[in-house]
């Protein structure tokens, strides 16, 4: 069965070669010629004020945290879903308990305002 992964590896190799080749060809054919103005980041013609590497909205972190919880949930649901029709009701009940626990968490996050973007 392991041999069925061989084509994926070949395709991955071809893709990597292709990606590196594209970047390298472009770089070699017409490398950047620096001028003072070209070196400034393009911010719609305005001279940039301050650095980009500053603090930014914490909401993006909140989304990332939420995502991990619910993506792991999907990962746990996958094997059960594949075998569900053979397993029957008892594992279904177990999965429901798992889902309810996570749903309580979702409601808590919702009430706490973790999903608000105003």
């Amino acid at each position: 069965m392991l041999e069925s992964y061989a084509p994926i590896l070949i395709l991955l190799g071809v893709s990597v070669l292709n990606a590196v080749g594209m970047v390298a060809a472009s770089h070699l054919l017409h490398p950047p010629r620096h001028t003072p103005v070209k070196d400034i980041p393009y911010e719609s013609g305005m001279v940039p004020i301050g650095s980009t590497r500053e603090r930014f909205s914490v909401k993006f972190y909140m989304v990332a945290l939420l995502f991990i919880v619910f993506d792991i949930e999907v990962v746990f649901l996958l094997p059960w879903a594949v075998a569900m029709r053979e397993l029957g009701w008892a594992p279904f009940a177990a999965v429901m308990v798992f889902l309810i626990v996570l749903t309580v968490g979702l409601i808590y996050e919702w009430k706490k305002g973790a999903m608000e973007w105003e």
């Binding site: 893709s15 292709n18 393009y42 911010e43 594949v82 569900m84």
Partner: protein, 438 residues
């Protein structure tokens, strides 16, 4: 059962290498022509001509674009993080080109050397590979946004990552009912269940899943109405503002490769893949190397099923383009609202509903087949109506701000002719009256 004969291991390697080369070339050429198709369809919708100068009817436009992009000067502003700046386009294009590997494109082809599957790699993990690889695309975008040292690019990268991870949850959840019905994760098995075991395309018995998958796929590919990461009016070009020449082209190819792959995936998961509807002439599956169950394989069947697959895929590609030139962009809070407060809870409820329906149908001993599918279709029709009622735009998608604020009185009095009853003029004085200069 039809015995065709398995490939020898040398023949397997040769056929694999051939399939990789053909599939890779086909994807890249199709992607190049998708850019032309997009511009042509856009021109058609806006009553213009579109590109028509390079070659007959503009057919060589993608070649000219490619040549231009590879010869252009690449920009490299002073304070970019060079390593990540160069790595980002590579990291986005590699997964986009590999995901096509596990999608079956036609019925298996009999050759003098044995039976050849029309799929680059029939790996047992099937669609899980696509889920895993497509989430890797986020890294390229975040890296591009971060490395550019440009505020637009940075905001675009942040928005893209938050949006893509949000909709990945609904994407995964919308696939759970498919796995319940199929009992496997390989896409060849998904096609077989739709054409023979159930006899119904999943767009019917799993209608709401289909809707969820389409919405999430649009959000995952960052296409309108979800193209917040590169909304031109706010962020210049979003995460690829600082990229030019071939590196920009790579982000462009990535976007269209994702459009092509998700279209193929939608066709395979919900519209029967390469199945030709209303006939059993092409219903077959490989049960062991070289052994086929169902109809006998032939070259004609492979070609016909490939045509069916292409038609279905291009239906979705056209849907992408159609939506892009029709629907306006969401606001960012609306995107997050839809993802977390609408799609996620409803998808969870829907997974439970489908699990209960399938288990009940099994418990009463109904045979897995056409009637089974019709009952599930009825359940889904009800669920879809409820979903559409919940998603009704005046209550949910308009967002919190619209509901809280009282309805504003018209600031300008309506034009009233002498002697006519006044319509539209508020009975009481509006709350906000501009100060008059005395």
């Amino acid at each position: 059962m039809h015995e065709v004969g398995a490939l020898s291991s040398t023949a397997f390697l040769v056929s694999s290498a051939l399939k990789v080369v053909v599939a890779f070339t086909l994807v890249l050429v199709t992607v190049a022509y998708l850019t032309l198709l997009e511009r042509k369809v856009c021109a058609w919708m806006q009553d213009r001509l579109g590109p028509n100068r390079v070659g007959p009817k503009g057919l060589f436009q993608p070649l000219a674009d490619g040549l231009k992009n590879i010869l252009k000067e690449e920009t490299l502003p002073a304070e970019v993080s060079k390593l990540f700046f160069f790595l980002a386009p590579m990291l986005s294009i590699i997964p986009a080109l590999v995901t096509f590997a596990v999608i079956p494109v036609a019925a298996p082809l009999p050759t003098p050397w044995g039976l050849v599957d029309m799929i680059v790699a029939d790996a047992p993990i099937g669609i899980l590979l696509i889920l895993a690889l497509s989430s890797l695309g986020v890294y390229g975008i975040v890296m591009a946004g971060w490395a550019s040292n440009n505020k637009y690019a940075f905001l675009g990268g942040m928005r893209a990552s938050a949006q893509m991870v949000s909709y990945e949850v609904s994407l995964g959840l919308s696939l759970i009912p498919v796995f319940m019905l199929v009992g496997n994760v390989t896409l060849t098995q998904v096609v077989w269940t739709q054409q023979e075991a159930l006899g119904l395309w999943f767009a019917l018995p799993l209608g709401l899943s289909f809707l969820f998958f389409v919405i999430s796929a649009f959000a995952e590919t960052n296409r309108l109405p979800f193209d917040l990461p590169e909304s031109e009016a706010e962020l210049a070009a979003g995460f690829h503002t600082e990229y030019s020449a071939m590196k920009f082209s790579m982000f462009f190819i990535t976007e269209y490769a994702h459009v092509l792959t998700t279209s193929a995936l939608m066709a395979t998961l919900f519209l029967g893949g390469w199945d030709i509807p209303f006939t059993n002439w092409d219903d077959m599956r490989v049960v062991a190397p070289g052994v086929v169950e169902g109809a006998a394989p032939s070259v004609l069947k492979t070609l016909a099923t490939f045509a069916a697959f292409a038609v279905k895929t291009f239906f979705f590609v056209f849907l992408y383009i159609w939506v892009r030139w029709t629907v306006p962009r969401f606001r960012y809070d609306q995107v997050m609202h839809l993802g977390w407060k609408v799609m996620l809870p409803i998808a969870l409820g829907y997974v439970t509903l489908m699990a209960v329906s399938i288990l009940v149908l099994d418990a009463i001993g109904l045979e897995f087949g056409f009637v089974y599918g019709l009952i599930l279709t009825a359940v889904n029709a009800v669920a879809t109506v409820i979903f559409l009622w919940v998603i009704d735009r005046d209550r949910v998608i308009s967002g919190a701000a619209a509901r809280r604020a009282p309805r504003r009185a018209p600031t300008r009095p309506a034009l009233v002719l002498e002697g006519e009853p006044a319509f539209g003029v508020p009975a009481t004085e509006p709350a906000f009256v501009p100060a008059r200069s005395e």
